[in-house]
């Protein structure tokens, strides 16, 4: 290997080429003339590509190439983005500009970088014949932009849905909704995580596990001090699933991002920073539009939980105990499934704290404590952590947690309940925090009502908005 250039001093980040053979997608990038960064994505048991879908597949691959580049681009954030494959059309370039800017918002904040005005995908030049045609573009065999390539795929068979599983409560709530609606769904996940695999297996759905191998050179760059930090991983997974949908013949991709994912975590230098921008509404709408415009108007991308608050998702999760001993929403991202609750819940991070509080409002106390293996609300040392969740004296942490109002309402509900109110942090809330709050703002019910924009197919809406599922049959001999 030649000596790696320092990405931070590179002038350009290059989208070199992308290809596919036998279910293996290779995405190639480089900084200036440095070594190529090659990411591989492996789709198991991939069928041969239906010629009718070849154009859609190519378009999905292009989109993936552009989106997944963010992992590598961020190592140096050079001024120029150079596309040596087919150029994106103007709306796609604008979409990618927004994705890179907002998706790297937290990254920029932590690395003290200002990316505004720096990210400019070159839009496809008007087809005057004067357009610069890259070598790779010639190899693909068309100088036309990808925008025009898509043709609607007619399908009369029942629609098939990919539902990505993350190991946390949200996607499992979606799975149960899809099952209730009788949707032909496949649980899909990217990466090698025994914990997610265990959750996926528990769904009872058909499974699809896609492997992703980052370029080892990226780790080499990181070692040498390249920029590193948070990337919009949901966007990358979305683009991977778009390729999968075309490859295996799915019609819908149902993510599990809820309403509060759209709100900014904090403001930095006059710019809103959202830890989970690619889980937000703006990304969802933009990505869906790109899929329709570029890949296929028949491929739908939406989030099933979009109209729901975190609390509403927690309420729905509590309806079944099916996943109690396998799921984890802990931000420590446990991928290994251990036998003990402490192997899945660190008990230290805001996600653990919030999910504990949110679920506490909706499930029997012994069940919740069995899930976590401990009672976080009876631990005085965690008072500052729960204060932060309630936005009492502190700002909201950089995590995917609910809004302050949700935490306050959940805590208020516990303070009314005899089995909770003597616990240290609940008692403290009642004594210290509650007197300073407007009691009218603390009701749970309004927070549970579906609200806001959504792109959920009409047939599924009743299952998202629905009241409790019918009671499960009695279990005589357990």
């Amino acid at each position: 290997m030649t000596t790696a250039t320092d990405p931070r001093s590179a002038r350009a980040f290059r989208f070199v080429r992308r290809g596919h053979a036998d279910g293996v997608v290779e995405l190639t990038y480089a900084f200036d003339d440095g070594d190529e960064l090659v990411e591989r994505i492996v789709f198991p048991d991939a069928p041969a590509i239906d010629p009718a879908r070849a154009q859609a597949f190519d378009a999905a691959l292009d989109l993936l190439h552009f989106v997944a580049g963010v992992s590598y681009y961020k190592a140096g954030v050079p001024d120029e983005l150079r596309v040596e494959t087919r150029q994106p059309d103007a709306p796609t370039a604008a979409f990618l500009d927004a994705l890179y800017l907002h998706g790297l918002g937290e990254f920029a904040y932590h690395n003290k970088l200002d990316l505004r005005g720096r990210i400019r995908f070159p839009p496809q030049a008007p087809p005057t014949g004067a357009a610069v045609v890259g070598a790779a573009e010639a190899a693909i065999g068309g100088s036309k932009g990808i925008a025009a390539s898509a043709a609607p795929t007619e399908s009369t068979s029942p629609r098939r849905t990919l539902v990505p599983i993350g190991g946390g409560k949200d996607s499992l709530v979606s799975v149960e909704m899809l099952k209730a609606a009788g949707v032909d769904a496949t649980a899909v996940w990217v990466g090698n995580s025994p914990l997610i695999a265990a959750c996926a297996a528990r769904t009872g759905l058909p499974l699809l596990n896609i492997r992703r191998e980052l370029s080892p050179l990226l780790f080499e760059y990181n070692k040498q001090g390249a920029y590193n930090g948070h990337i919009p991983v949901t966007a990358i997974n979305s683009a991977i699933l778009a390729v999968a949908a075309v490859l295996y013949g799915y019609d819908e991709i149902a993510f599990s991002n809820e309403r509060s994912a759209s709100s900014a975590t904090l403001e930095y230098d006059g710019q809103p920073v959202n830890h989970q921008w690619s889980k937000g509404w703006e990304f969802e709408r933009g990505f869906h539009e790109r899929l329709h415009a570029l890949v296929s108007p028949a491929l739908d991308y939406y989030s099933l939980l979009r109209p729901l608050s975190e609390l509403a998702v927690a309420e729905r999760f509590a309806r079944t105990a099916r996943y109690d001993d396998v799921f984890s929403s802990c931000n420590r991202n446990f991928r290994i499934l251990g036998p003990k609750p402490a192997d899945r819940w660190c008990g230290q991070c805001p996600k653990c704290h919030f999910v504990f509080l949110a679920l506490s409002a909706f499930m029997p106390k012994p069940r919740l404590l069995a899930i976590f293996g401990r009672n976080l609300l009876d631990d005085e040392a965690l008072a500052p952590a729960f204060d932060a969740l309630m936005e009492y004296r502190d700002h909201k942490p950089f995590e995917c947690v609910g809004e302050g109002g949700e935490s306050r309402a959940a805590m208020h509900a516990l303070a009314q309940r005899a089995e909770w109110r003597e616990d240290a942090l609940v008692a403290r809330f009642a004594d210290e925090v509650l007197p300073q709050l407007d009691a009218a703002s603390l009701a749970l019910a309004p927070l549970l009502a579906p609200a806001g924009e959504t792109r959920i197919p009409a047939a599924l809406l009743p299952f998202v908005e629905g009241a409790r599922a019918e009671d499960r049959p009695t279990d005589a001999l357990r």
Partner: protein
């Protein structure tokens, strides 16, 4: 009927005694298992016994029948389960090579009827009982047919004709149908009538009839219960419960591999053990047998030669003794405080009335003047419904309620518990550092229960079990009560470990002849251990933690084996550099604890890798670390290990940065432009459970993902070395597998480990000569020429080192002795209660496993020189 055939039917001049033998689901699911049943029944029969075989349904069948009930309107799901049930039984029928399907088809037709029965969609209770009963009816029918083909004429007995359930007061409809009770007492008329019909019978577990003649079930563990009922009614000679484990154990063997088989228990003890944890026997089966005076034996189907666990009435001469320790998890405590009314009349009555009203059964009770605390077992009801909330709401009207959970109830079981309290001081000390929520001791004197936080239980149980043995409270040497350990049963061919020093005996005696005392190290043994570790693929880099033994010859040998080095002081760094002057500095890891500033400065100047385990260095000496690469040692918060002083995790341990300070550490590092490139955790020593490192590795990896530049994860050492002959060695293959699993999930991080003791403990021995012998009362002392000044582990950690008389290695052990050193400390004991050949002045004693933390921890106490070292 011709008179010639009459004698075959009955000539009951002397009634043949009855044996009831019960077989569970896995024991009736395959042909080999049925052959075993045939063999066991035939053997009893040949001994002149009448035999009643009680069988469960084929394994998994009851669950499939339940699925039919749960399917409700989902006809497809219902059909799928039904097809599965038919297939399983037809497959077994073929495997058993039964000539006709008659035995089965009637019951399968009945299943057809029940599936289309309108009661199914509402899962009516009587329909459920009839449906679930089919599992046992079918397995027993197949069994009768098969035994016939094996030349054993067995008769099919419908259990429902003989077990008549009696409703209990307050018993709900659910329990009347699905968890019924049968008042079973010895019934000589029934026994005689049965004997008149034949000598070998097969009947169904789990099922009975009610007063209306309808089918009812006996609830969980119902087949054991059936065997108990029939055993009592027939006043059997014995009831045998045939299962897949050798019997009941002194602890759950999956948690405590050293748990001992319990050879004999009385009914009450067995009931207590079965109630507080053991799953092998349902406690309900014991009541009728105790009243009828019928003994019960638990036997292992795979190893019928083992005696198993025999349960009978208490022996007159039974000495008080702890028999078992168990843990029940998921326990909820409800603590109730009176609201300021001293001696409030009727408080307890009011409180307990609420529990009754909400249908919650209280287990343990602790009470004081103003507080009563009770425990609730983790029933479905408690976990799935809001009953606890409703209870708490009602209780809150009469007292202050606090719900404490999740807890574990840790119970010591044994007759005469109060008579043994004096022996339990070490055991009780273990609870000293923990928050014990409740202690309960019943007046029947069979148990002593501690309720603690559930997360503590898994680590606590093996320690308590070992302490109970050490305290002589669990008297495992009493062969009448205790059988072999689970581990011994699992590894019948366990060969004693071959020690290098047995082969080198002559050379060692010669060395001891030249000078005594002395430490002797085998470099071959060090290399052997090193190669075994290097063979584990998952670990990218091994370090030797040289605090265990910094002898230069060992350092050089391990360097040749590809090991890097982990040092905890600047002097250790210097020792490595002196022994290996060519070694690249980055092969040295500097991981000190509370070291002074100048040691870090010097280490950084040398270019070795530095690990910080506190905020202080970055806060106060930040300029030292400007632009440097650092490793961070975190405290994952749960200490474990074989002794308090070698546990290095948890708030009470001085090592590592607490998880809640990791962000602060990162911020400080960022301010200084220092890069955190490695995470390290080390939670204890002497760990023999391979799963421990998987958990540390998984936790570190998940933590490392939140960082930007982590390259390596150092999961420490602590690889246990068994000391006692019956201890199992660490399973390296299992370790390698579990590490590889984590590696697949987090391939971006290099995996490092840093064992110390594992590499060198067995490679070193301490040779010492006998100076004097002494007898005081019944105690014999053998004094040697060095003691805690050379080897302090026995005094410091209660460590057990094998000791042999090398001069008389071939002589049989004779006297029980205390091997002591010459230091003026009563703790200067190298080995207590050792059986050695008679020792004479000048004999050479060998203290094994002295290669780690022996010479390294030696002192000049009493101004006695510690033993010098020599490497072979």
């Amino acid at each position: 009927m011709s008179s010639a055939s009459a004698p075959a039917v009955a000539s009951p001049a002397i009634a043949r005694p009855w044996v009831v033998a019960k077989f569970g689901g896995t024991s009736v699911s395959t042909r080999p298992r049925w052959e075993t049943i045939a063999r066991i029944a035939a053997a009893h029969h040949a001994r002149g016994r009448n035999v009643l075989v009680v069988v469960s349904a084929l394994s998994g069948i009851t669950d499939m029948l339940k699925r039919i009930a749960e399917a409700r309107a989902d006809t497809a799901k219902c059909r799928e389960a039904q097809v599965g049930i038919v297939e399983r039984h037809v497959a077994l029928l073929r495997e058993l090579e039964l000539p006709s399907r008659n035995a089965l088809d009637g019951w399968l037709a009945r299943l057809d009827q029940l599936v289309v029965d309108p009661r199914r969609t509402s899962a009516a209770l009587d329909w459920q009982a009839q449906t679930y009963a089919l599992g046992e009816l079918m397995s027993s029918a197949l069994g009768v047919a098969f035994l016939g083909t094996q030349g054993l004429e067995a008769r099919w007995l419908d259990a429902r004709e003989h077990l008549l359930a009696q409703p209990l007061a307050n018993q709900g409809a659910w329990a009347r149908h699905l968890s019924a009770n049968v008042p079973a007492v010895p019934d000589p008329a029934f026994a005689a009538a049965l004997a008149a019909r034949g000598e070998v019978f097969i009947t169904q577990g789990f099922i009975a009839r009610d007063g209306d003649g309808g089918t009812v079930l006996l609830g969980r563990g119902g087949s054991d219960t059936s065997a108990g009922y029939f055993g009592a009614m027939l006043k059997a000679e014995c009831v045998e419960i045939w299962t897949d484990v050798p019997g009941m154990f002194s602890a759950n063997p999956r948690v405590v591999p050293d748990a001992r088989l319990l050879a004999r228990l009385d009914y009450e003890e067995a009931q207590e053990i079965a109630t507080t944890g053991a799953k092998v026997l349902h406690p309900r089966s014991l009541g009728p047998l105790r009243r009828a005076g019928v003994p019960l034996v638990i036997k292992d189907t795979n190893r019928p030669q083992l005696a198993g666990t025999e349960i009978r009435a208490v022996a007159a001469d039974a000495a008080p003794c702890v028999k078992a320790i168990s843990a029940r998890k998921g326990v909820t405590l409800v603590s109730m405080e009176t609201i300021g009314m001293w001696q409030q009349v009727g408080f307890l009555a009011d409180v307990f009335a609420e529990f009754k009203r909400h249908g919650l059964s209280v287990d343990l009770i602790g009470s004081a003047e103003t507080n009563v605390t009770v425990s609730l077992d983790p029933t479905e009801n408690l976990v799935d419904s809001d009953v606890l909330s409703a209870l708490a709401t009602d209780l809150a009207k009469i007292c202050r309620v606090k719900v404490i959970a999740p807890c574990a109830a840790i119970t010591l079981v044994g007759r005469g518990m109060r008579a043994q309290l004096h022996r339990l001081s070490g055991v009780l000390a273990e609870f000293g550092a923990l928050d014990v929520h409740l202690i309960s001791q019943s007046s029947n004197n069979l148990n002593l229960t501690f309720v603690v936080d559930e997360s503590l239980a898994d680590d606590l149980i093996p320690r308590l079990h070992a302490l109970l043995i050490r305290a002589d409270a669990l008297r495992v040497e009493d062969g009448a009560v205790f059988g072999p350990s689970w581990r011994e049963l699992g590894e019948p061919a366990a060969t004693p470990r071959e020690s290098w020093w047995r082969r080198e005996r002559d050379a060692l005696l010669k060395l001891a002849g030249e000078a005594s005392p002395r430490y002797v190290y085998s470099l071959d043994a060090v290399r052997g251990q090193a190669r075994a570790l290097r063979a584990l693929g998952a670990v990218d880099r091994w370090h030797y933690a040289l605090k265990a033994n910094p002898h230069p010859a060992i350092l050089r040998a391990l360097h040749e084996e590809g090991f890097a080095f982990e040092c905890v002081s600047l002097a250790e760094v210097e020792a490595v550099r002196t022994a290996l002057p060519q070694l690249a500095a980055e092969r040295i890891l500097f991981t000190p604890n509370f070291a002074p500033r100048d040691e870090y400065a010097a280490a950084l100047a040398l270019g070795v890798r530095v690990t910080l385990d506190a905020l202080h260095p970055l806060q106060h000496w930040g300029e030292l670390f400007e632009g440097r690469e650092l490793h961070l040692r975190v405290d994952l918060g749960s200490g474990r290990g074989h002794h308090d002083k070698v546990r290095t995790g948890g708030d009470a341990s001085k090592f590592g940065v607490a998880l809640d300070q990791v962000d602060a550490f990162r911020a400080l590092a960022r301010e200084r432009g220092a890069r955190i490139t490695g995470l390290h955790a080390h939670l204890g020593s002497g760990i023999l459970d391979a799963g421990h490192w998987r958990s540390v590795y998984g936790q570190l990896a998940s933590l490392a993902e939140g960082f930007s530049r982590i390259e390596s994860l150092d999961i420490g050492g602590g690889l246990g070395v068994p000391s006692r002959p019956d201890e199992r060695a660490l399973d390296l293959a299992a370790l390698g597998e579990s590490l590889a699993e984590v590696k697949r999930a987090y391939p971006q991080f290099a995996l490092w480990m840093e064992p110390g003791r594992y590499l060198v403990a067995d490679a070193g021995v301490l040779l010492a000569r006998v100076t004097q012998t002494k007898r005081k009362g019944g105690v014999h002392y053998v004094g040697v020429d060095t003691g805690m000044n050379s080897l302090i582990r026995p005094a410091l950690y209660d460590a057990w080192h094998e000791i042999v008389n090398l001069s008389r290695l071939d002589e049989a052990p004779a006297t029980m002795v205390q091997v002591v050193g010459p230091i003026c400390e009563s703790g200067d004991v190298l080995g207590a209660n050792r059986r050695l050949p008679d020792c004479r002045e000048g004999d050479v004693l060998l203290v094994a496993q002295a290669g780690a933390y022996g010479a390294a921890m030696a002192s000049h106490y009493n101004l006695r020189e510690p033993a010098p070292e020599v490497a072979l």
